[in-house]
């Protein structure tokens, strides 16, 4: 009986682990009732100008829709990342808008020899509340 209970406990733990969320790197579950989709990516020009593009679509009209924070990071090996700069919507009005959808970009002057990524904190707000979503842009 003891062994049977041990087996049941083991497989229950296994089922729990396999049922855990499967997602791409850096995506954290939070949004559903305000945010329909988010999109982001990075482009680096020949002069190492890093441009972070992002767009967000709300499930309905939003009074605030956009990115509340963008953090640009760089790495030489793709494993260890260091923060280059952080952009806040309060300092960069072009990061936030309103409506059903919003898309914008920010730029950062990078350097040769690095690969870049950006961590984006999406934001959607209307009369019923606020929702957030996070994603990495590569």
């Amino acid at each position: 009986m003891k062994k049977l209970l041990q087996h049941i406990a083991f497989f229950s733990a296994l089922v729990f682990i396999l049922s855990a969320p499967v997602s791409a790197i850096g995506i954290m579950p939070l949004a559903s009732s305000h945010i329909e989709s988010t999109d982001c990516h990075i482009a680096v020009s020949s002069s190492n100008l890093v441009t972070v593009y992002f767009s967000i679509e709300g499930t309905d009209f939003m009074s605030e829709l956009g990115a509340s924070m963008i953090r640009v990071q760089r790495s030489t090996d793709g494993i260890n990342w260091e923060i280059c700069d952080t952009y806040w919507a309060s300092d960069h009005p072009e990061m936030m808008g309103s409506g059903l959808t919003f898309n914008s970009s920010i730029t950062y002057q990078g350097q040769a020899g690095y690969q870049y990524r950006a961590f984006i904190y999406f934001h959607a707000k209307n009369s019923s509340g606020t929702r957030t979503a996070m994603a990495y842009a590569y």
Binding site: L4, L14, P29, A31, S32, I35, S37, D39, S55, L100
Partner: protein, 269 residues
């Protein structure tokens, strides 16, 4: 009471009163302890043996009786282990099914990955889905015609724009996201809205779609796998074809969404 044929020996070796006591003691309990019964009979045998010498046949019969008693005890224990094998097999099968359900394979090698709250496409079709040579976009809805014109402008001729939407919808927004290289349109009818968008598929940074806590399923039409799920009262269809990530969402019913998707591939005679 389970009894082997050799237990007859034990019965004859005991007095009637001793046997009655042994049987009464075990059968009166809710869980007869056959080990205890065997031990009791063994003790009785030992007492009897002290009184007289057993014949070889009686000795053999007694040994067989003890072996049979041991087998009865083991067989009663074994049923406790029997359910374990099918239980383990069932648990392994359930774990495998859950693991498989986290990633689904659609026709052409398109994969969808999701958590409780998000969905995104991973990978892309191994082979492109060619636009039929005789394909002509035909629709009675000017709103859809405008969407198709933008799609051709940005991505060339593609068989991705629906040719039908329910009556009563008007185009609220239509445009191109230059920064994301995407075409989008919102059509509304009162509180209902249909959202249509097409963008380049990016494997390293795929688009993330919010979803309810349901497992997306595949709706296949004309060899294209469309992932269907719901989010905040809206039904969403997401698919990828020829390097383009396509999305249609609506607050209408799931069946209406199917009709909109079907209209993309309808052959006009």
């Amino acid at each position: 009471m389970k009894r082997t044929h050799n237990s007859q020996w034990a019965l004859t070796a005991m007095t009637g009163e001793e046997l009655e006591q042994a049987l009464h003691r075990e059968l009166s309990s809710k869980k007869p302890n056959w080990d205890a019964a065997g031990q009791y009979l063994h003790e009785q045998h030992r007492r009897v043996r002290q009184q007289r010498e057993l014949t070889p046949e009686e000795q053999d019969a007694y040994r067989e009786f003890l072996q049979a008693q041991q087998q009865i005890t083991e067989s009663e224990k074994r049923p406790l282990r029997r359910p374990l094998r099918p239980l383990l097999a069932t648990a392994v099968a359930v774990c495998l099914l859950i693991a498989i359900a986290t990633v689904s394979l659609g026709t052409g090698g398109v994969y969808g990955s999701w958590s409780a709250d998000y969905f995104h496409l991973i990978g892309h079709p191994d082979a492109a889905v060619p636009v039929p040579a005789d394909y002509v976009f035909r629709t009675e809805r000017p709103e859809l015609q405008k969407i198709y014109a933008l799609v051709v402008q940005e991505f060339g001729e593609q068989r991705i724009v629906p040719t039908w939407i329910p009556e009563g919808y008007t185009q609220e927004e239509l445009g191109v996201w230059d920064l994301s290289h995407a075409v989008y349109s919102f059509l509304t009818s009162g509180d209902h809205r249909i959202s249509i968008s097409f963008t380049e598929y990016r494997e390293k940074s795929p688009r993330n779609y919010s979803k309810d806590n349901m497992i997306p399923f595949v709706y296949e039409v004309a060899g294209v796998s469309h992932y269907i799920f719901s989010n905040a009262g809206r039904w969403v269809a997401v698919w990828e074809v020829n390097g383009l990530e396509c999305k249609i969402s609506t607050s209408c019913s799931k069946e209406t969404l199917f009709c909109i998707v079907d209209s993309i591939y309808e052959e006009i005679e």
